[in-house]
Symmetry: C2
Subunit: 151 residues, 2 copies
Amino acid sequence: MNLEKLKELEKKIYNEIPMTRLMELKLVNIDDKYFKTSAPLDINVNDKGSAFGGSLSSIAIISSWCLSKLISDELGFENVDILVIKNHSSFKKQVTNDIVCLCTIPTQKEINILKEKLKTKESASLKIHAKIVQDDETCMDYEGIYVIKKR
Amino acid sequence: MNLEKLKELEKKIYNEIPMTRLMELKLVNIDDKYFKTSAPLDINVNDKGSAFGGSLSSIAIISSWCLSKLISDELGFENVDILVIKNHSSFKKQVTNDIVCLCTIPTQKEINILKEKLKTKESASLKIHAKIVQDDETCMDYEGIYVIKKR
């Protein structure tokens, strides 16, 4: 997947989801292991001078949504609606620098199952794990279930 | 608890947590059953024209935080830091109007336990249940654990 694709998706969410623009979310890069996003601390700060939990949650939710979108597109299912239906987060450590979110790329097996389901059914779901990291430590752990529905 | 207290807390979070101002969160009122907050759909919209899941999560997180703060203040523990440490959400229905969040006021028994813990320990935790509602239907269910730490 190339960076142009990420820039295009970033532009799409800025246009369609104003909060992503206001929190200055950036889609940074994607490799075999992670999809990486980031946002500055200053606009996402809380009363304690660390990152606002609501921003961390929002960033994990939309980053995992973007990864679901990138995967669906890659599989050739571009005309879909993607919705988060359930999620949970554990906040382990305060974030005191700019916010970095890493979404784990699902395994090839999980992607194959998704592809088969989307071929034969109207919708399929995908579990995405993400974490907010600072200095190689996990500050927040996130897991969300995303439903991908054909339009 | 009076409305002046809510206005004061709203001003505090607008100053200290910029995202609450950008998402135009309002602390509406509080009674024996619920603490109510709201935010407009337009700035919190998603690609489907309904409310962005990240905004719904943020609103539930900060509203529950505000309720924890109001309760701690009321108990006489004003010099505390309050942090969300764990939460989960279920998204049941898309929100297509302005966003309304109702946080359930903890029972008197839960508040008494919190008070006793804060008297004798350095910190205590509080579980807050919140929901996003539209036309008397629950669109999102939220539960968060908040730690209240003496400074």
